[in-house]
């Protein structure tokens, strides 16, 4: 089997493995009462998983973010939240000032 075809099959297998969760979710959602305890428990798991993923990226990043300091990331995130609320819950202002702050802090600390 050529290396190219093998990679395509690998990506396709990852896509099927990912869709398995989505398909199962659609299937389960058909027979579940949105006012039931089971539904609200699954909602908790959805929110907790997203929070876990984001918190992991903040505290234990891999790749490019791992080159920045934890305190710098936390400071930039706090600034983003401050700008977001100060600008009347403006996502654009919050998100982009957060990213700009991390770049600026990292640049200043590492001596640009």
């Amino acid at each position: 089997m050529s290396a190219g075809l093998e990679l395509w099959l690998l990506v396709a297998a990852c896509a099927l493995a990912t869709f398995a969760w989505r398909g199962a979710g659609v299937l389960v959602s058909g027979g579940i009462n949105p006012n039931s305890a089971l539904f609200s428990w699954l909602g908790c798991i959805a929110y907790a998983t997203l929070a876990a993923l984001i918190s992991r990226i903040m505290f234990l990043p891999v790749g490019t973010l791992a080159d920045s300091g934890l305190s710098h990331r936390l400071l930039a995130a706090a600034l983003a939240a401050t700008v977001y609320f100060a600008a009347g819950r403006n996502l654009f202002a919050g998100v982009f000032s957060g990213a700009a702050a991390l770049v600026a802090i990292t640049w200043l600390v590492h001596g640009g």
Binding site: A17, R22, G25, V26, G43, I45, Y47, A48, A51, V95
Partner: protein
């Protein structure tokens, strides 16, 4: 629709610019890289695919690892789909919508759908997420071609947009006690479980954090 789309699309597409550059550096072809965005449609899973492949991980272990990063889609689909159901749609419509369940579109849709008439929600969700999907395909290609010319600092800013966006949208918009509890428990469990078991960490953190939040809320409600 337009006001709902701008910031999420910019943030998510920026993440995919980073992914495109990563795929280029890992010697993936452009069609294959775009194929992964089209079909996997989950940035953490796609990044795991590229990184594990570069490490020479065996195919079954790699697929399992990607699958574990995507387990969140089950509870996310279960909580979103009941909002979208209407007698005029067929089952395959829901499975199509299921493919587009991913963090960014889900977070927008669970907030917005309850304010829309029921029969408009499925078209709204598909329109929103397919627009995000197209923006991210463009982002993937842009990152693929820009790889090498992207300055380290620019890349740092791009990859930080995504976590900041979710901190603001989750922390700023979730008001009910149960949601706040689930976010706090998940945020605590995430890094802890990652240290205990890197491969299963996210799955365990989500189930454990969500269950603790659910239990605490039950106890408080009884008092």
């Amino acid at each position: 629709m337009r006001e709902a789309l701008g910031v999420p699309a910019a943030v998510l597409a920026s993440g995919y610019i980073g992914f495109g550059a990563l795929a280029h550096d890992a010697d993936f072809s452009l069609p294959l890289t775009l194929f992964s965005t089209m079909t996997i449609w989950a940035l953490p899973g796609q990044i795991a695919l590229i990184e594990l492949r570069a490490l020479g991980t065996a195919a079954p272990a790699l697929v399992l690892a990607v699958m574990l990063t995507s387990a969140r889609f089950l509870p996310m689909a279960v909580t979103l789909l009941p909002l979208l159901r209407h007698p005029s749609y067929r089952p395959w419509h829901y499975y199509l919508a299921g493919h587009f369940v991913a963090m960014t579109g889900w977070a927008v849709a669970v907030r917005r759908c309850p304010t829309l008439p029921v029969e408009q929600r499925l078209p709204y969700f598909l329109g929103l997420t397919i627009a995000l999907w197209l923006a991210c395909l463009v982002g993937t290609a842009a990152g693929y071609f820009a790889s090498g010319s992207l300055n380290e600092m620019v890349t740092l800013g791009l990859v930080f947009l995504n976590p900041v966006y979710f901190i603001l949208i989750l922390g700023g918009e979730v008001r009910h006690r149960l949601g706040v509890l689930a976010l706090l428990c998940g945020a605590l469990a995430g890094p802890l479980m990652q240290l205990l078991t890197p491969q299963w960490g996210l799955l365990v953190a989500g189930v454990l954090g969500g269950t603790i939040a659910f239990g605490v809320d039950r106890v408080w409600r009884k008092q």
